[in-house]
C-alpha cells in the first residue's frame, strides 16, 4: 500500500479520534462547571478560572494530536 495513502488515512482517522475525545473531555468539564455555578452562583469567578485552566490542558493534548495529523496530511 502506498505510504501517502496510509498517511492520509491515518490523518483522517486521527482527526476523528481527536475531535471525539476532546469533545468528550470539554463537555464533561463544561457540564460539571455549569452545574457548579448553578448551585453556587457566588463562586462563578473561581469556577470559571479553574475551568479555563483545565480546558486549556485538554485542548493542549488535543492540539498536539492535531499537529501530528496536520504533519501526516501535508507531507
Amino acid at each position: 500500500m502506498n505510504p501517502t495513502a496510509i498517511a492520509y488515512l491515518a490523518a483522517g482517522f486521527g482527526s476523528a479520534a481527536v475531535t471525539f475525545s476532546a469533545a468528550f473531555g470539554i463537555s464533561k468539564l463544561a457540564s460539571a462547571a455549569i452545574s457548579g455555578i448553578a448551585r453556587q452562583p457566588e463562586a462563578a469567578g473561581d469556577i470559571r478560572g479553574a475551568m479555563i485552566i483545565t480546558a486549556a490542558m485538554i485542548e493542549g493534548v488535543a492540539l498536539l494530536s492535531v499537529v501530528i495529523c496536520l504533519l501526516l496530511g501535508f507531507k
Binding site: 502506498n2 501517502t4 495513502a5 479555563i52 492540539l63
Partner: protein, 276 residues
C-alpha cells in the same frame, strides 16, 4: 481478497497523489496555497552564517512591529500619568489591572510584584502577535513553532529561577522528591516530577502554536473552496463561514494570550509553593 483491496487502495492512493501533484503544478492545490500563507518566508534576504539562515522572515518583521507598537503605545499613554486616565491609557490600564488582579494576584499572592512584569509583557506581546495575523498583509508570529517555543522557554527559565530564589538551589532540587513517601517510590516519583516539569512547558508551546495555526488553516481551507469550485457564485457561502471563523479567531487570540499568562502564573506559583 484482502490483497486485491490493498492493491486497489494503493492504486487509488497513487492516483490521488498524481492528482495532487498535478493540481500543485497548476497552483490549484489548497494545500500549497495554505502552506504558503502559514509558513515563514524571507522578506529581507541575508547570508547564511554557520548554517543558520539570518534572513528576516515576515514573522520576525511582525515581531519587531508588535514590539515597537507596544513600546510606543505604552510610552505615549503613560508619558504623563494621570490619576484618572482617559483614552489609550484607560484602555491599557484596564487590561493591565485585569491581568494583575484576576490572573497574577490569585495565583502568586504576595510574590506577584516580582513576576507581574514578565507575565504582563508576555500577555501583551502574545495578544498583539495573535491579532497581527488578522490584519491585511499581517502574519501571526505566534503561528511559528520557533516563536512559541522561545516564549515557553522564557517561562521555563522564569519558573526555575523563581524556585531557586525561593528555596535555594538544593532546596529547589529537594522539591522534586516530595517528603513522606516510601524510599522505593522515590525512584518513580522523581523521574515523573522531572518529566512533568518539561512536558508542561512543551505543552505551553504546542498549545499556542496549534491554536494560531489551526485558525488560519480553517480560514484558508474555507477560502480555497471558492477556487476548487471555480465559480464566483459559491463565494457567499464560504465567506459567511469565514466571517464567523475570523470573529472566533479574534476571541481565540485573546483567550490564548490569557491562557498562556495564567498557566505561566500557575507554573511559577507551583514552583515557589511552600512544602507541606
Amino acid at each position: 481478497m484482502i490483497t486485491q483491496i490493498v492493491e486497489h487502495a494503493s492504486e487509488h492512493g497513487e492516483a490521488v497523489q498524481q492528482a495532487a501533484e498535478h493540481a500543485a503544478e497548476h497552483g490549484e492545490s489548497g494545500v500549497g496555497f495554505i502552506m504558503h500563507h502559514i509558513m515563514a518566508h524571507p522578506v529581507i534576504k541575508l547570508p547564511t552564517v554557520y548554517g543558520i539562515d539570518l534572513s528576516v522572515t515576515n514573522h520576525v518583521l511582525w515581531m519587531w512591529i508588535v514590539s515597537a507598537l507596544l513600546i510606543l503605545g505604552f510610552y505615549v499613554a503613560f508619558r504623563k500619568p494621570k490619576l484618572v486616565p482617559h483614552g489609550l491609557a484607560n484602555a491599557l490600564e484596564s487590561l493591565v489591572v485585569f491581568i494583575r488582579d484576576d490572573v497574577i494576584m490569585p495565583n502568586l499572592g504576595h510574590e506577584a510584584r516580582a513576576y507581574a512584569p514578565y507575565l504582563l509583557t508576555a500577555f501583551f506581546f502574545i495578544m498583539l502577535c495573535n491579532l497581527a495575523g488578522l490584519v491585511p498583509y499581517g502574519a501571526t508570529a505566534t503561528g511559528n513553532i520557533g516563536v512559541t517555543a522561545t516564549l515557553a522557554l522564557f517561562t521555563f527559565f522564569v519558573v526555575q529561577i523563581a524556585g531557586v530564589r525561593k528555596h535555594g538551589f538544593l532546596g529547589y532540587l529537594s522539591t522534586f522528591s516530595p517528603p513522606g513517601i516510601p524510599f522505593l517510590l522515590k525512584f518513580i516519583m522523581i523521574p515523573v516530577e522531572v518529566i512533568s516539569m518539561i512536558t508542561k512547558h512543551f505543552a505551553l508551546a504546542i498549545r499556542l502554536f496549534a491554536n494560531m495555526i489551526a485558525g488560519h488553516i480553517t480560514i484558508l481551507a474555507l477560502l480555497s473552496v471558492i477556487f476548487l469550485f471555480k465559480n464566483w457564485l459559491v463565494s457567499p457561502f464560504p465567506l459567511a463561514i469565514i466571517l464567523f471563523s475570523a470573529i472566533l479567531e479574534v476571541l481565540i487570540s485573546l483567550i490564548q494570550a490569557y491562557v498562556f499568562t495564567i498557566l505561566s502564573a500557575v507554573f511559577i506559583s507551583a514552583s515557589v509553593a511552600e512544602g507541606h
